[in-house]
């Protein structure tokens, strides 16, 4: 006869949840005397639960201040009133079920994240036109995601609208990106493009067009790759073949991955034909403090790579090293060959001092470039009062490009920063010197940022004497030069060059850059300003104006580069987003020529949370039913249900509706509220083709409220009243003021105060079930009264032969004295009473205060 849980019902006031009753239930039979209880039912303060206890007719708790309980018809109601522990005794016809209970304090209030799960099924169409390249890009992406599997289709078409130069045989239309993907947690199948980031010695961030399979730890790739995206419709003529296979074995926090990658075709964009065999080891500590990746491989030459990251709450260290000598088998454009080591250590303190140390040493052997770069940077940031930060640092660099001699440079900045919430400012002084000039120069940078409502302003001015500037010597292609400028691919220090070559080595491989040179400019200035207006509205509007000026002065010339851009973007509804940009770029070189270019760009994207069905029409159905859960799951007929707001169906007598020929993906199903009813389940749900939906509606309810008070008008808390009709049973419990309120549909009810739910000390015997008719729109008010039990008892000590009487003077109430002199007065109202005992004509009096609450006053005794 163990209790079982039942679902909590929504008509119970206050928080309700189901709890697990552990094996803490002990059944006593008459005469059983003891139980050791090990597990406990745990409730939170003010929580209410209902538990099925077959045969239960009544229940009580040892400490009603911890929990109020009542039982009726095999159902136990437990209301957590106060923090503490107690025992609940549930009474059946023959047994007692004992349930230990602990009421825990409420947990700290958490801010519930109001996040709405984004749909994982969508179709996104985007179109983009850019006038300087005269290129129109159109893409469509369809994703149909689920817990266990996801498929995705993506296609990007580029259409060249400009007249092609004579002899240019590239196609006007090309497919730079194309993918069809199917994924599960265990497997993956991709046709066409996949970005492969396998390892440092094989492919690391290279898109391969072909076929890709993953099953467990096995990865297979076969296809071609090319950095030239817009050359042909489907396959670039400058492509290289890639074949790759790897298998990862995972043991705990470590894994071992042997790999073989082959590049059998003749190099088209740099690189080396051949094959690479490698073995990679990976380790990740349980809390991700430490991550290690190391790889050893042979690709005609011996190569090695290692990547170590450590981080905790205050510091982070990172070391990356790679050695791939010229001749090591590699795909061109993937990354520069050579020997490279980077190291960074950062320590952040919330209170005082931040430290940032970084170093790079690299010997690049890629394309026509054969250079050594080495830099070391140290930066300290001191946190001062009033949001001020002071910074100081030093950077030392070495740059050598064969066959020239090495050049050394040093930079020492120091600055003061203000980091306010709406305003920030930074002023930095910098001294730079290099060995080529054998002298140094002063410089500095002033930067500000500010925010006011929707406006944001930021800008900087940077000036430097004796500036050492590294730049790629680009071929005469203005469009490419502007593109690089827009992308910020201007190397101004050896550090920048190291980064640029690593990330954009295809520029050199493709022949866009002849080489990189180091320039020494007597004077260089850069200024940038950006003003943005971004109101935080649903349309996500953004208006941005950006201006960038770069002036470089050398001995022989002065070059000004100015670019400006004005852009605006806005969302229309939840599906459409549009943006437009106007750009102007100019370069003015004294003594030479001036170039300027206007361009416009416009983009439009449309997203809908569904995908077209890939199956034949008529093969999929969405159906459902609408019922009234408060009325025995009665079907509700005649309700209009809408699918995606475009199709409608009406429920039949069984409350059933159905939509046939439903496309794949997510669908919105919504029901109209029927007359005099409302929804007790979500009115709108999202489901997929083949899904079944259930809506719950209930009839409009009438308010029924009332009070339970004692004989002096004080409210009685914790009394349960059940409103029972032919189809439903609604319990409600009085609050600390003895009040209750419930909403009931119109109809005839029987009101049953649950005597077992009364707290100790009240006489509820006069309360009986009574009929109640609830009419629509006619609120009902009920009043119940249960007097508090108060008694006054004692003993009159008499000897044999003496007679004694007892009475209360104020009301003349006479008590019965038994042969042992005992008496009791019951049903007393709260008051001060004079109790008078008379023994053989001798009167004795005692004054007793009877309180307002329940009281059993004893030992009001009278001596002989």
């Amino acid at each position: 006869m163990l209790p079982s849980l039942v679902d909590s019902h929504g008509d119970v006031p206050g928080p309700v949840r189901a709890v697990t009753l552990a094996a803490a239930i002990t059944v006593f039979t008459a005469g059983t005397s003891r139980a050791d209880v090990e597990d406990t039912m745990v409730l939170e303060l003010r929580e209410e639960i209902r538990v099925n206890v077959p045969g239960a007719t009544g229940a009580f708790s040892v400490d009603p201040t911890v929990a109020e309980v009542s039982a009726e018809s095999g159902r136990l109601l437990v209301i957590a009133r106060g923090v503490g522990t107690t025992t609940i005794s549930v009474i059946t016809a023959t047994d007692v079920v004992v349930i230990p209970l602990r009421v825990a304090p409420l947990p700290p209030h958490d801010v519930v994240a109001q996040t709405q799960a984004a749909s994982r099924t969508w179709t996104l169409w985007q179109s983009n036109y850019e006038s300087s390249s005269a290129r129109l890009m159109n893409s469509v992406e369809m994703v149909d995601g689920g817990e266990q599997r996801t498929w995705r289709a993506y296609a990007l078409n580029a259409l060249e609208l400009a007249e092609r130069p004579a002899g240019d045989r590239d196609e006007r239309s090309s497919m730079p990106a194309l993918a069809l993907e199917w994924r599960t947690p265990q497997a993956e199948l991709v046709a066409f493009d996949k970005l492969i980031e396998h390892s440092a010695l094989t492919l690391d961030g290279m898109t391969v067009r072909g076929g890709h399979v993953r099953v467990g730890g096995l990865d297979l790739h076969a296809g071609v790759t090319s950095p030239v995206l817009y050359q042909d419709v489907f396959l670039s003529t400058r492509r290289e073949t890639v074949l790759g296979a790897s298998y990862e074995v995972v043991r705990g926090s470590s894994s071992l991955t042997p790999s073989v990658y082959g590049y059998p075709s003749a190099p088209q964009t740099g690189g080396t034909r051949g094959a690479v065999g490698s073995l990679m080891y990976r380790y990740r500590s349980p809390e991700d403090h430490l991550q290690l990746r190391s790889e050893l491989g042979w690709g005609g030459e011996l190569g090695a790579a290692a990547d170590l990251t450590y981080q905790d709450s205050t510091q982070r260290a990172w070391i990356n090293a790679r050695h791939e000598p010229r001749g090591f088998a590699a795909i061109g454009g993937n990354r520069p060959l050579g020997s490279i080591i980077d190291a960074v250590w950062t320590r952040e303190s919330q209170k005082l001092l931040d430290i940032n140390l970084a170093g790079t040493a690299a010997h690049y052997q890629t394309g026509p470039i054969d250079q050594d770069v080495a830099t070391t940077t140290a930066e300290l940031r001191f946190r001062l009062p009033r949001r001020l930060v002071a910074s100081a640092g030093a950077s030392v660099g070495r740059f050598r490009s064969e066959p020239a001699d090495a050049i050394y440079s040093i930079s020492a900045p120091a600055g003061l920063h203000y980091e306010g919430k709406q305003f920030g400012m930074s002023a930095i002084y910098r001294y730079q010197a290099n060995s080529a000039r054998n002298r140094g120069g002063h410089g500095g940078r002033l930067a500000i940022r500010g925010t006011r409502d929707a406006l944001r302003l930021s800008g900087f001015v940077d000036v430097q004497q004796e500036a050492a500037t590294v730049e790629l010597i680009l071929k005469d292609q203005p469009v490419l030069a502007k593109l690089l400028n827009d992308l910020g691919l201007t190397a101004s220090t050896p550090d920048d060059l190291a980064r640029l070559l690593r990330e954009n080595s295809a520029l050199a491989q493709l022949g866009y850059a002849d080489s990189a040179t180091l320039n020494f400019n007597p004077w260089r200035a850069q200024a940038n300003a950006e003003l943005a207006w971004m109101p935080n509205d649903a349309a996500k509007r953004q208006l941005r104006l950006r201006v960038l000026l770069d002036r470089t002065q050398t001995v022989g010339k002065q070059q000004d580069t100015l670019s400006a851009g004005l852009s605006y973007q806005q969302r229309f509804g939840s599906a459409i987003e549009a943006s437009a940009q106007l750009s102007w770029w100019a370069r003015d070189e004294l003594m030479t020529a001036r170039t300027d270019t206007w361009s416009i760009a416009a983009a439009l994207s449309v997203r809908i949370d569904r995908v077209p069905s890939l199956r034949a029409r008529g093969s999929r159905v969405i159906d459902g039913v609408i019922v009234d859960p408060n009325d025995g799951q009665t079907p509700v007929a005649g309700v209009t249900v809408r699918l995606d707001g475009t199709r409608a169906a009406v429920t039949d007598r069984a409350g059933h509706f159905s939509f046939a020929d439903v496309e794949g993906g997510d669908h919105d199903v919504a029901a109209d509220a029927p007359a005099n009813s409302y929804f007790v389940s979500p009115q709108r749900v999202t489901t997929r083709a083949g899904g079944s939906v259930q809506f719950h509606v209930a009839r409009l309810h009438t308010s029924v409220s009332g009070t339970f008070r004692d004989d002096v008008g004080a409210g009685i808390m914790g009394v349960t009243i059940v409103f029972r009709s032919s189809t439903m049973s609604v319990p409600v419990t009085t609050d600390s003021n003895g009040a209750f309120r419930v909403a009931l549909p119109a109809g005839d009810y029987v009101v049953e105060p649950q005597l077992a739910s009364f707290p100790m000390g009240y006489d509820a015997s006069a309360l009986a079930a009574s009929p109640l008719r609830v009419l629509a729109d006619s609120p009902v008010r009920l009043r119940f009264r249960a007097p508090a039990l108060r008694s006054l008892a004692g003993t009159i000590h008499v000897v044999a032969g003496q007679t004694a009487t007892i009475k209360i003077v104020e009301n003349g109430l006479v008590g019965v004295v038994d042969d042992q002199g005992r008496y009791v007065f019951r049903d007393l109202a709260p008051d001060r009473y004079t109790v008078e005992a008379t023994i053989d004509g001798r009167h004795m009096r005692r004054v007793v205060d009877v309180p307002a609450g329940p009281a059993s006053i004893r030992e009001i005794d009278f001596p002989r």
Binding site: S33, R34, A35, E68, S765, Y823
Partner: protein, 248 residues
């Protein structure tokens, strides 16, 4: 919620001492610890009479003999706890309508034989009746000993015209540590319906002490058969007792 208050002739010998216009708090100080540990407790005496009252401070051991509490002078028992009590002042005078506090520091001896002391405020000023008053605070100590109580059977005194129904359960603390025992009972009619619920008076039992959990039901019961289910709890454990009675 209103609790079912039992207003009885008050105060056990070591309970919260109270007299007209005098109150001592706290009345009971339950402590846990280990031998060798010290504790300091502050006791406050409030005098709402119209005369200044003087008191002498005394600590006595509370031991259990034949199931009942007995106060023993400090040092008379081996392992006396009261003998370690040190007061911040040995006497105190509380002016009319004022409150005064005394700190008492107690060190648990290595071999304790009892688990409680009483700190007595013994009056030195005669009040109007010519008598003196004494108030006491009970301080109990729970060590890592054996926790055990033994509830007896449920006894019922049938209600009459001159007495309420009375329910009693004898309790014995047969463990080595103090125990606080409480309980409740339900009265069911012959149909199994609860007609009344009552709380059993809470008892604090020292090791070896015996007492009775009791409660009366202050309502007239109609003639018929009744069943009483009582649950007693202590040390997060519970015991259930049942009995029947007949109202003629």
């Amino acid at each position: 919620m209103k609790r079912f208050a039992i207003v009885a002739a008050i105060m056990l010998s070591a309970g919260a001492a109270a007299a007209d216009g005098l109150s001592l708090s706290p009345a009971v100080v339950p402590l846990g610890g280990k031998p060798g540990q010290s504790t300091q407790q502050r006791l406050s005496l409030s005098n709402t009479t119209s005369q200044a009252l003087g008191f002498k401070l005394v600590a006595e051991d509370v031991v259990v003999k034949d199931g009942e509490r007995v106060f023993v002078a400090a040092g008379d028992e081996r392992g006396s706890i009261a003998a370690t009590a040190v007061f911040s002042q040995s006497t105190i005078t509380v002016p009319p309508h004022e409150q005064r506090s005394v700190d008492v520091t107690i060190t648990l001896p290595a071999k304790m034989t009892n688990r409680a002391i009483v700190v007595l405020f013994q009056g030195t000023t005669r009040i109007n009746t010519g008598a003196t008053v004494a108030l006491g605070s009970l301080i109990t100590f729970e060590l890592a000993g054996r926790l055990s109580i033994s509830p007896g059977e449920l006894h019922i005194q049938v209600p009459t015209a001159s007495t309420n129904a009375l329910f009693t359960i004898p309790i014995a603390n047969d463990g080595t540590e103090p125990a606080v025992v409480r309980g409740a009972a339900a009265i069911l009619d012959d149909k199994g319906v609860i007609v009344g619920k009552i709380a059993l008076e809470q008892r604090r039992l020292l090791p070896g002490e015996r007492n009775v959990l009791r409660s009366d039901y202050p309502r007239t019961l109609a003639s018929g058969s009744y069943r009483v289910v009582a649950t007693v709890e202590c040390f997060h454990r519970s015991w259930t007792r049942m009995a029947t009675f007949q109202v003629p």
